[in-house]
């Protein structure tokens, strides 16, 4: 069998499994919006671990992380902080959000904020901002993966065909199975990644250098600067280190896709153990990533795109069939994130924007729930097509992507603080989001940040300061007080 055909076959098997998951998830569907958006809080520990972890990872896990080591050395592992802390956040923050979700029926981040602050405007604002940031992300995942698909099939799949394959497959299983389809597919994809990423790294190290330890020994002789800060490009300085991990950790904790998973567990027991499992999974998966980056720098020093190092090494230094099966791990990593994003965007448009704008006619009935369910499903198709169009335009989204995580991070005070402080106000929440976004854009595009810090860091600092100042200056909110008192009653 030729390389092209065997690569296509692996992709085909992968696609069939993903669609089968969507079809099976549809059979379990209760055909209402709550089930479609949060599985009606029926997700167990194992599925929650994998859907939470896989949503955290994009193509970064397979391409971005080894590429970063390839460029800047072991300093990349500051990212380890956002592998340990998300699981803890899932338990510490997630348990409070889950309890409120159970009591108040919250279905999304905007729905939660609108309810806590008694403000439909806040809900619509958060939903709209989320959609604006998410769709280019889906397109970017698809674009980034075109290289992998081309490598897997020996160039048989063109850029355009890769886009259709990637987005088309996601749309099918998300449309069919809703978040249950996404979560089950995440589990399948998460398992694939858990095996493929460490195993791929280990085999490469073994084939090229005789093992991980000989690889590091040779690397320490040839590329000493990669073994400490600030790395060969002087990129990872102390101020960059602190500002970067804080921005990413806080931003990821309040991503709309992650927030939905706080609501999905079937009990607090599930939330707790999924948190523990997530910390272990996310920390483990990168165990051989430094070896791939350092080994890659010695074996292929002149690579024009650093992020291509892992697939490049797999193709060049492992048997082709092993390489394509492992690279399907990259497809899994990208697909799990993009499908969660597509689903979250459609859910936000339905729950946070459409439903809130219908406030005069809003009814909490089965008929209304079914109507929202159908709107949500068809928005998956609409947003899928939009993402495809954006991807095919081959636009550069680097600026938007740079501010998207930081932009979401500015919502952190509005989301987290009312769980612990009844002085939080609606005015504080709205001004902190808008003010934080303003400072992110200001520092990203118009003013240089102090030292080597990232723009998002200043956006987060600003949003917290604005939140406290405005909340102190404005009248306390009865809705926030009720939420706070309820949590106090439940958790003591």
């Amino acid at each position: 069998m030729s390389k092209e055909i065997s690569g296509l076959l692996v992709l085909l098997i992968y696609a069939v499994i993903s669609i089968a998951i969507g079809v099976f998830a549809r059979k379990k569907s209760r055909f209402n919006v709550k089930d479609y958006v949060t599985t009606d809080s029926s997700t167990g520990i194992l599925i929650l671990i994998f859907t939470f972890s896989a949503t955290y990872h994009s193509a970064y896990a397979f391409m971005g992380a080894p590429g970063w080591v390839y460029s800047d050395g072991v300093g990349w592992w500051m990212n380890g902080l956002w592998t340990v802390l998300p699981g803890i956040a899932l338990w510490i923050l997630g348990k409070k959000i889950w309890v409120l979700g159970q009591k108040r029926g919250y279905l999304s981040m905007g729905d939660y904020l609108g309810g806590v602050y008694d403000s439909d405007f806040l809900s619509v604002l958060v939903g709209t901002v989320g959609i604006i940031f998410v769709l280019p992300y889906v397109a970017m995942q698809a674009q980034g993966l075109s290289y992998i698909l081309s490598q897997m099939t020996g160039g048989l799949i063109s850029f355009e065909a890769g886009m259709f394959f990637f987005i088309g497959l996601i749309v099918v299983y998300v449309f069919l199975g809703g978040v249950r389809g996404v979560a089950w597919a995440d589990t399948f994809q998460g398992l694939w990644m858990m095996i493929a990423i460490p195993l791929g790294g280990y085999i490469i190290a073994n084939n090229l250098f005789g093992g991980i330890i000989p690889l590091y020994a040779e690397g320490a002789q040839e590329l000493t600067e990669m073994f400490y800060l600030p790395g060969p490009n002087n990129a990872i300085t102390p101020d960059f280190w602190i500002s970067y991990w804080l921005t990413i950790t806080i931003g990821m904790t309040v991503m709309p896709t992650i927030f939905l998973r706080y609501l999905m567990g079937d009990s607090l027991r599930t939330i707790k153990w999924a948190g523990v499992g997530t910390s272990i999974y996310l920390t483990f998966i990168f165990v051989f990533t430094p070896a791939v980056g350092i080994g890659g720098k010695m074996a292929a020093p002149g690579l024009s795109v650093a992020d291509h190092i892992f697939p490049h090494l797999l193709i060049e230094h492992t048997p082709f069939i092993f390489a394509v099966i492992t690279m399907a791990g990259a497809v899994a990593a990208s697909m799990s994130t993009a499908s969660s994003q597509l689903h979250a965007a459609a859910s936000q448009a339905t729950v946070d924007v459409y439903d809130k704008l219908q406030k005069e006619d809003r009814e909490n009935t089965d008929k209304e729930s079914k109507k929202l369910f159908n709107i949500n499903r068809y928005l998956i198709l609409v947003f899928g097509v939009l993402s495809l169009i954006i991807a095919l335009m081959k636009l550069q989204f680097s600026a938007l992507l740079q501010i998207s995580n930081a932009g979401v991070a500015t919502m952190a005070p509005a989301i987290i603080l009312p769980l612990y402080w009844k002085g939080a106000t609606k005015e504080g929440a709205i001004s902190s989001i808008l003010g934080g976004l303003f400072f992110v854009v200001l520092f990203q595009f118009f003013i240089s940040t102090p030292g080597n810090t990232v723009a998002g860091f200043w956006g987060i600092i600003s949003s917290f300061v604005i939140f406290f100042v405005v909340s102190f200056l404005t009248k306390s909110n009865i809705s926030v007080t009720r939420h706070y008192e309820f949590l106090k009653k439940v958790f003591g």
Partner: protein, 89 residues
């Protein structure tokens, strides 16, 4: 906060301090002269140790902290929210 929770948060704060400047600067300086420890990059090994300790502390805390064990059994009844009872009546 219970004694177990205090211990857990102490480990997490210790982890955060150990993997950030200024403590990290000292490890970095040591790593520049001693790139490898037990065959692995010293700097990476330091970080990996603390992350594993953090994840391990979370695992042990999940088993041991009585308050968390009680919390995992909390059931939420559907019904009126605080303040809504009066309104409904």
């Amino acid at each position: 906060m219970t004694k177990g929770e205090k211990l857990f948060w102490t480990v997490i704060i210790a982890m955060l301090l150990a993997v950030n400047p200024p403590i990290l600067n000292l490890i970095n300086e040591y790593s520049s002269n001693n790139t490898l420890t037990l065959g692995f990059p010293t700097f990476w090994l330091w970080l990996e140790f603390w992350y594993t300790l953090g994840a391990g502390a979370f695992l042990i805390a999940a088993f041991k902290i009585e308050k968390w064990r009680e919390e995992e059994n909390i059931q939420i009844e559907e019904g009126p929210f605080i303040g809504e009872e009066e309104k409904d009546e």
